[in-house]
């Protein structure tokens, strides 16, 4: 059965979504979701171990070999991202909508789990497939589920945020579809490897250039690359907190993976960075994202929105790593994908803990909360240190590689920029810390810690982000192997 692991990885959560509609009882659906997510995580770890030992795996679906059929393809990079997505999902999925922060009557909870499972299965499907059109199909599965999940927040603004997300996400999806059409028209194939092989003949044609432009702009919309990020702050701010944690930790990460896959595996670094000179566009956009996001985060009065703008900034680090097109730059980008998934997932869960108790993510309502919810706020502080990139946290590892990449490229000003932006992160994290510990709540201070069912998962993610700040074999170690593979300088 082990040769079927690639497909089971996606089909298990896919199967559990309709099952949830039949089972209906919340406790049973929760168990089902956890079982699916845990199985999926176990499979991706097994796949990663196998790929590291024996090289890439190809699985022809329906028994039809590519390019005739659709192929699932697992290599170091896709296995790495699969582990991140399914690992975070295994922690988050059993939480369902969490407590508070959503406007869902209890009779509809099983649909919520189904939507979460579909979002997860879609993201896994995008990561593992070796077929360009299959990417589009699974991207739309996860997007559709995400639009709905965002719209379930308790504030009515969640509905508007979801609508905007749907409009911008659909423009992105349709651009991807147009790009696929151009690429198919010029090559006759949809398989990614086959496409990469046929590309040299046609890569100077205007149609192929447009294919790259539409694909990368479309994916960048889903990744929320500055200035295409307008949907993100409100979507993260008004979604139910557990959904914000899920999306921040997985959805943009998979979009980043897809961008890297298209740039390096399909179109090739020589074409994208050599002939098209994408670096000249991506460097300034990344820096703009880093600074604009951080500056906006400083001004926020709502903790979720603050974290959302911080995500805009952190996505800037991701694309910055990509734009170096060097081993340490890409390693930095990929390891940041891993580290930021844990850190930001954990931070949004900490917010979910507070919302479960006090019902509010407004900074004003967080006065003195450090004494009322010491464990929750300790997790928040640890996550905040990770956002800043303090040594000993996972965020430090990411920035270490990025600074190294900047110095290798002879661009000391970028290294300084990374350090300066970390200072901005200090400011926005400090605002929350100061409010939580040093502001007088003006009321009784009774201990009211979050339920263990929420606090536990929060600490799992935050704990992992601390662990991987020190032991980097499975984060930076694998990321550098994946980066070497993308650049064609390693196995």
């Amino acid at each position: 059965m082990s040769e079927h692991l690639p497909v089971l990885q996606v089909v298990i959560p896919l199967l559990c979504a309709p099952l949830a509609l039949l089972v209906r009882r919340e406790a049973a659906v929760r168990t089902l979701a956890f079982a699916a997510a845990a199985a999926s995580f176990a499979i991706s770890v097994a796949l990663l171990v196998s790929v590291l030992a024996d090289g890439p795996i190809s699985y022809p679906l329906g028994g039809w070999y590519p390019p005739l059929g659709i192929e699932y393809r697992v290599d170091t990079l896709s296995a790495f991202v699969l582990c991140v997505v399914s690992g975070v999902a295994a922690v988050l999925l059993p939480l369902g909508p969490g407590r508070g922060g959503h406007g869902l009557p209890s009779g509809r909870l099983h649909w919520f789990y189904a939507a979460l499972l579909l979002a997860q299965a879609g993201l896994l499907g995008v990561t593992i497939t070796g077929d360009l059109f299959n990417v589009f199909v699974f991207l739309e599965i996860s997007s559709l589920a995400s639009y709905v999940l965002v719209g379930l927040g308790s504030d009515r603004r969640a509905l508007r945020a979801a609508f905007t997300y749907l409009v911008m996400g659909t423009i992105g999806g349709t651009f991807v579809l147009i790009g696929i059409g151009f690429a198919y028209q010029m090559t006759g194939t949809l398989n990614l490897d086959d496409l990469a092989q046929r590309l040299p003949e046609v890569r100077h044609k205007s149609t192929m250039l447009a294919a790259f432009a539409f694909l990368s702009v479309g994916v960048s919309l889903k990744l929320a690359v500055f200035p295409l990020h307008q949907w993100l702050p409100n979507a993260y701010a008004y979604a139910p907190p557990v959904v914000s944690a899920f999306l921040a930790a997985t959805a943009t990460k998979v979009a980043y993976y897809l961008l890297a896959r298209l740039v390096f595996t399909v179109f090739g670094v020589a074409y994208v960075f050599g002939e098209l000179g994408l670096g000249w566009l991506l460097f300034p956009l990344s820096l703009a994202a880093i600074f604009a996001g951080a500056l906006a985060a400083i001004r926020q009065t709502d903790v979720k929105k603050l974290l959302a703008y911080s995500s805009v900034s952190q996505i800037g680090y991701l694309t910055l790593g990509l734009s170096f097109a060097s081993l340490s730059g890409l390693t930095g980008g990929l390891v940041h994908l891993f580290n930021h998934a844990l850190t930001k997932g954990g931070l949004f869960l900490a917010v979910a803990c507070v919302v479960a108790r006090s019902g509010s993510s407004r900074l004003d309502d967080w006065r003195g909360i450090g004494r009322r919810m010491p464990w929750t706020m300790a997790a928040f502080v640890a996550g905040g240190l990770g956002l800043i990139g303090v040594p000993g946290t996972a965020g430090f590892v990411s920035k270490w590689y990025l600074v190294q990449a900047a110095l290798e490229a002879g661009r000391a000003e970028l290294a300084l920029g990374i350090l300066a932006s970390s200072l901005l992160a200090v400011v926005y994290v400090w605002r929350v810390v100061e409010t939580a510990y040093f502001r007088d709540p003006g009321g009784p201070e009774t201990r009211a810690e979050a339920p263990l069912s929420l606090l536990g998962p929060t600490w799992v993610l935050i704990g992992a982000s601390l662990y991987f700040g020190v032991f980097t074999e499975w984060s930076a170690g694998v990321a550098s192997k994946a980066a070497a593979m993308l650049l064609g300088v390693g196995p």
């Binding site: 896919l14 309709p18 329906g62 390019p67 599965i141 447009a210």
Partner: protein, 329 residues
């Protein structure tokens, strides 16, 4: 001759699209959107895409238009006067420029030597008779060579169904009140004797036609997706004239929810059966160890049925959800 007809159709399409953009009467715009779909379905037929034409006519001109009209009955018309803004025009001009640039090096329209017609596609046309044994190559590719995409497509529909259930409910939580699409119209339509008599005679034929489309997809245009849409359209037609509650008495929301799940489970079940038969996921040849072509035929029958059931159920669920939403003006 054909270029002339297509050119005329394109001129109509452009005129309709511009009219949609300009008119502030949203009901008119909704009907024009439906006409746009119908005209493009005609164009698809001219361009040999009969399956696409069938689906676009059923979905774009049928279900989508119905949904938009149903929404409008809740949200109202006309739209507010448009605000003048240059930014969207700039974005559209940029995208349009990129699209026009893309056309510069495209192979000429209809060129049989274009790369897309020389790689992969010829193999589908050549191998289908032997591999799958059915004449409709579109069905062969959809259900077998790229069957996994079709599973994805079905899951997209599932996601939409779950999404509408989460957002607007299954139609029984609306709480009395005035109903939007369905009950409101059936009060008016109840008076129309001819409509009632015709509908009572017509609906069984629509449902029968759906079954025909379901099982004839191997030979002509059609298949599970189109069949599901036609089946749901039959139910919706009945509901619009006799009231949504009439339909709900026959097919309850709970049964619809089971249907949504059952179709997807059937599709995945066929895939799992192939796994258990010792082949890859969705490799139907394992379903009959003695005769692979027969196995593939069985597999296609199974998954198409799964598609039909889920699509019909989701469309019905969406209709219930929108129709049951009480008006809060």
């Amino acid at each position: 001759m054909i270029p002339l007809i297509s050119a005329a159709l394109f001129a109509f399409l452009l005129a309709v699209a511009v009219a949609v953009a300009r008119t502030r009467d949203l009901f008119a715009a909704a009907m024009l959107t439906g006409i746009f779909s119908l005209l493009s379905a005609g164009l698809f037929t001219l361009l040999d895409a009969v399956d696409v034409a069938f689906t676009e006519a059923a979905v774009g001109a049928g279900i989508s238009t119905l949904l938009i009209l149903g929404t409008l009955s809740l949200t109202g018309s006309p739209e507010a006067p448009p605000r003048r803004s240059w930014a969207p025009l700039g974005v559209v001009a940029l995208a349009g420029g990129a699209l026009l640039y893309a056309t510069l090096d495209m192979p000429a329209f209809g060129d049989p030597g274009a790369p897309a017609h020389l790689h992969v596609a010829p193999e589908y046309l050549a191998d289908t008779p032997e591999d799958i044994g059915i004449p409709n190559v579109v069905t062969a590719v959809l259900a077998s060579y790229r069957g996994y995409d079709t599973l994805g497509e079905l899951v997209v529909i599932l996601a939409a169904g779950v999404g509408v259930l989460l957002l607007v409910g299954s139609g029984d939580g609306g709480g009395g009140g005035e109903r939007a699409l369905g009950s409101e119209s059936h009060v008016r339509m109840r008076e129309k004797l001819v409509l009632r008599v015709v509908a009572r005679r017509l609906v069984p034929f629509v449902l029968l036609f759906a079954l025909y489309v379901q099982f004839h997809g191997d030979y002509g245009p059609g298949g599970g997706f189109q069949a599901g849409v036609v089946f749901a359209a039959g139910l919706i037609l009945y509901g619009m004239i006799f009231g949504v509650d009439e339909v709900r008495r026959v097919v309850g929301p709970r049964a619809v929810e089971v249907g949504i799940a059952a179709g997807v489970l059937l599709f995945i079940g066929v895939g799992v059966a192939s796994l258990l038969g010792g082949a890859n996921f969705l490799d139907y040849s394992a379903l009959d160890p003695h005769d692979p072509a027969h196995g593939r035929h069985l597999g296609i029958l199974g998954i198409e049925l799964g598609v039909g059931v889920t699509v019909a159920s989701v469309m019905t669920a969406i209709y219930y959800g929108f129709a049951g939403r009480s008006r809060r003006a």
